[in-house]
Symmetry: C2
Subunit: 293 residues, 2 copies
């Protein structure tokens, strides 16, 4: 029977670890602080913010919510981010995206100081990932995949990892992070032939699925005894939340469940770890800032 | 019989193409100019510079050689690079590396304006490669691999490319460039198990070998009908120049030569293309600078 790799124990453990670090920071006069920048009241943003605020409270991170009108100008938004860059009391900045269409998202992201970029949206952070330097932070969801594997004791060294999807938010950074941990990595994507996709999937020790398509990864694309990290959060045709992997949680001994050694469920898998990773990045940013003083 | 993919025709074609562009630039008052920064008289640097100067003359690129003492201070070197950043008449800057040990190479590289970074040494250039943006330029040798494949008509789309080696100068940027061209990419390195290394090598349509070890890639690590790009430039035990791939140029129908569809020789392969790529980057940088005016 496949092992369900749930996110909650991972998030809880990270939270306990960073709460202690937050205490130490506060004892030395630093209150680790996350600024959240939200334009309008998009339901997805509000729901994520709610979870982040709760997690922050558990972790001992102060949250500063900045809510602006959705028709705010790009110039004004950039000015606000520049202010946050300057503010020593703010260690991390989360900007909800996608931004409204009248705003050049890339231009706005680039304004953020990579040292405060706790979700890997600046080129500074992404260069850091690519170059293995300690500038900036990887996107939280990408980091959450690695946290999951670490927590459940799956060492990547010398393992074959297949990453499905090549986005800048998950696929590409996960490739770099897995390589840094000495995995042999294969990257499949929408232009990979069906045959190669299935071969790369079946052949891996660890599969990280981040294609963003409901249940696209089917049994024939996977192998025996694998660890499967499902990053997808999709709605299926019945309006039910599901992953990229065609795993039936109700019947975990059938289909993919009968072959996989372990799999992250959707929901309650990788997605449950992202806010804890976000707070971990804020704490790290606060520690680095304190070291610089 | 395997096809020898020689570098000279590729370099010559690129040179003709860019010489035309250089003419156009000059007609509009812009003289494409490369500044070469060299500390001391390292034989490798001088030999490369000689080749670059010759290629520049053919391509219509002006070269400005800046030669400093090898015991120059880091501060002075940084000041020189800052001057080159400011100088509108200089479009690209090549800094010979490794720099002497008393200089923090990374710190020096970071000073260079990514717009003039025609050999992919700044984090700005590397972020550009990672993010598929048009900031900076990839390292010339990485770009030369792709130029070779393009020139000889090997389309990467949907192909399985195995990259051997994960350096920041070749492996990682080549992975990104191959992925951009819609290849399915596998990256092997020193921590890949022997079995996985051989499987990834044998299984590929195109192999890019950049491990930096003389003749390390042997027949058993490769497959049938492959295109092999050998980036290595090593000395073998007899002091003879050789690649990373154990291909015997004297007996091209034996060993790897009997199985590969095509292979780049060493010398006279990828290495012969790098100075042409360097000049191509200078011309591109000059064009971009002219567009900005």
């Amino acid at each position: 029977m496949t092992e369900l790799l749930k996110g909650k124990p991972v998030a809880d453990r990270i939270t306990i670890e960073i709460a202690e670090k937050a205490e130490n920071l506060k004892a030395s006069g630093v209150v680790p602080t996350l600024a959240i920048v939200r334009l309008g009241k998009e339901p997805g943003d509000i729901s994520y913010e709610k979870g982040a605020v709760k997690r922050a409270a558990e972790a001992g991170v102060e949250v500063k919510s900045l809510v602006f009108d959705r028709d705010m100008t790009q110039e004004d938004l950039i000015a606000e981010i520049e202010k946050l860059n300057e503010e020593d009391s703010v260690h991390g900045v989360l900007i909800f995206r996608p931004l409204p269409k009248h705003i050049d998202e890339k231009a706005v992201c680039e304004v953020l100081d990579p040292a405060k970029d706790i979700d890997g949206i600046t080129s500074g952070s992404l260069a850091g990932i690519f170059m293995d330097s300690d500038v900036g932070f990887p996107p939280c969801t990408a980091a959450a995949c690695i946290e999951m594997l670490d927590h459940y004791g799956y060492d990547l060294k010398g393992k074959k990892v297949t990453v499905m999807g090549r986005s800048l938010v998950i696929g590409k950074p996960v490739v770099m992070m897995a390589m840094r941990r000495n995995a042999t990595v294969t990257i499949c994507h929408s232009r990979t032939t069906a045959e190669d996709f299935a071969a790369a999937g079946s052949n891996a020790d660890i599969v990280i699925a981040a294609v963003g398509k409901a249940r696209m990864i089917t049994e024939d694309m996977l192998g025996e005894g694998q660890v499967i990290i499902d990053v997808g959060i999709n709605m299926d045709e019945n309006g039910k939340l599901c992953g990229d992997v065609d795993f039936d949680r109700e019947n975990p001994d059938e289909g993919i469940g009968a072959h996989a050694a372990a799999i992250t469920p959707v929901p309650a898998g990788v997605g449950s770890v992202t806010t804890a990773v976000l707070m971990k990045h804020v704490i790290n940013a606060a520690e680095k800032a304190a070291d610089r003083v």
